[in-house]
Subunit: 68 residues, 12 copies
């Protein structure tokens, strides 16, 4: 009912773009955290090499319920 949640800040990166970088960060987080519930995008940036985007990086906060 009156749950308490914790939020972590992660940065996912991908050669394919914003959506994939989000997915990779969530996927990685779910390896060690149960009850992942939502995410909030805080920043989108990326690295350029040879005049082309090499990686898109998405910083996000993920929230998960603390168990009783």
């Amino acid at each position: 009912m009156s749950n308490v949640y914790k939020k972590l800040e992660l940065v996912g990166s991908s050669r394919e773009g914003v959506d994939d970088a989000i997915n990779r960060a969530i996927e990685k987080a779910s390896e060690t955290i149960r009850n992942l519930d939502w995410f909030e995008v805080k920043e989108i940036r990326g690295w350029i090499d040879d005049g082309e985007v090499q990686h898109t990086q998405v910083t996000l906060q993920v929230g998960f319920r603390l168990e009783d």
Copy 2:
């Protein structure tokens, strides 16, 4: 010439990602509003289930011209 515009705040959601969530919100708004002119993304977040992104939610403001 010296038009007045109104802005509404909407949240579109999609299983596919950011671009599709934007499209769905615009599409829904266009059912009832004429003269939709531009949008501005205010927030990107989403819901996670079973360690995977279930919905990406994009909050946007849409602007439309008020008719004389």
Copy 3:
């Protein structure tokens, strides 16, 4: 080592969405600037016509190393 970088602010636009608009801005910048190193997304907005997204516009800052 202790390099100095310069940042420019660009707006890329695309009919396809956020990732493509980023790519187009980087591509255009790389025509005249060497050593492009990173980008940061500042704003996502777009234009609507006939109730559909016509262009997604992404404002980004690109950073590049100043040569000695």
Copy 4:
């Protein structure tokens, strides 16, 4: 599933404080809007008279699901 939501901005006021001002705004909104789903506090301010708080005002955005 892939719902679209709309957000409205309201200001509730109360002689009793923050929580009551929120409740009053939600109550008023629910008179005319169905499917109210969540709120976000944007600002807390108030009016003073004779050296005492007269009204606490809470600006909030309320989100509700648009029906199909």
Copy 5:
């Protein structure tokens, strides 16, 4: 006493400048809304043509009291 207010976001535009753009937005809003009470400027921007300002656009929120 413990009134509830609603805020709308409008964009006024004018060939003359900031104050006139505000006035035009308020004037337009007052055609359909009673009890307009205050406004807050959120953004000032504009369009340029032939090296001169063509329109100044002021985005503002207007607040009005909801009637009982």
Copy 6:
């Protein structure tokens, strides 16, 4: 009519919570300032001891009319 107001920034603290911390700050300010007119909450924080909230601190700006 065309009054000029001054704003001060204060921090009120209370063992009871947000509303009481606001009241205490206003009360203290009214000991030395006449014409207090409004307040705006800027920050809510607090101190913890032994795993419990000891004081809630509310930073607020108070506005008062300068006399002619």
Copy 7:
């Protein structure tokens, strides 16, 4: 003297309001963390059901001293 502190981001929720949601988050955090020292409120939001506030959610950062 020259301590290092760590900050965690938590979300407390309560049926009673802002102060209680803060207390619940601190209480939960204190079950596993010693030396909790302060908190900062980052966001207040909540869920609505049947036209009434069901839960107030307060996002806060809590700071605690890292032991030597």
Copy 8:
């Protein structure tokens, strides 16, 4: 040389618009403060009556040099 400055926050209001509201606040401040050096606009808002702007209010910070 290595001066210290103090900043005050004022709100000027005017029936004529933004520039005049700034001037009135500066004029009032200069009655009691010497060495006023610069101002920064923080907020523009105003009051509406009968569907027309009654007062434009400009919140500004003014900086002045503290004398040795």
Copy 9:
């Protein structure tokens, strides 16, 4: 169609006020840049002398289309 724009940050100043400071910055920019398209006000400040506003300074970003 899918144009790329560049944004520059300028500061215009004027003895007359906000609108004139904007005009002067745009006018100056148009001496060397073609295709100026829009501006966004970022900051309004100014210098005071002898208790009166001497210059209003408006910081703005101007956007212009990069030619193919």
Copy 10:
């Protein structure tokens, strides 16, 4: 216990850098204010002459306890 604090905004400047500018502002404030308790840096800027930094300016808020 439930103290009330006041915050002032100061700008310290120094030829040596950020830390020294902070110290100078605090030192100046302590000439006239007792019970100075904490400071918060709001802005770092500075003046350049002949291609070199002449002064670093640090804007800070200082908090002090109001006496009973």
Copy 11:
């Protein structure tokens, strides 16, 4: 390649100033975390005693690569 990073928020404090407070926080973090990669300063504040700065506190986020 497509790494995932985690960010922690720390507060370093020092009697010497900003740079030293950053170093102390990084040093402390590196006792328990491998792969520390970057930091971002979020806030600079400090404590005053007897009219002098006692500690400068720098809040920073540190990012580190999660191992596969």
Copy 12:
């Protein structure tokens, strides 16, 4: 009198800390730009290697007067 200024965004980096990073950016800019007048710090971050700060990076905007 009514000058127009341009602002550029630079990132200086240094092994020694914040003040030195600012100096290096200004020094580099002054190689190609005359009339540099002021700077504003936008961001402080840095790179870590082997558990120690390797470079402090300061993002700043520098303003310079456009010549007639």
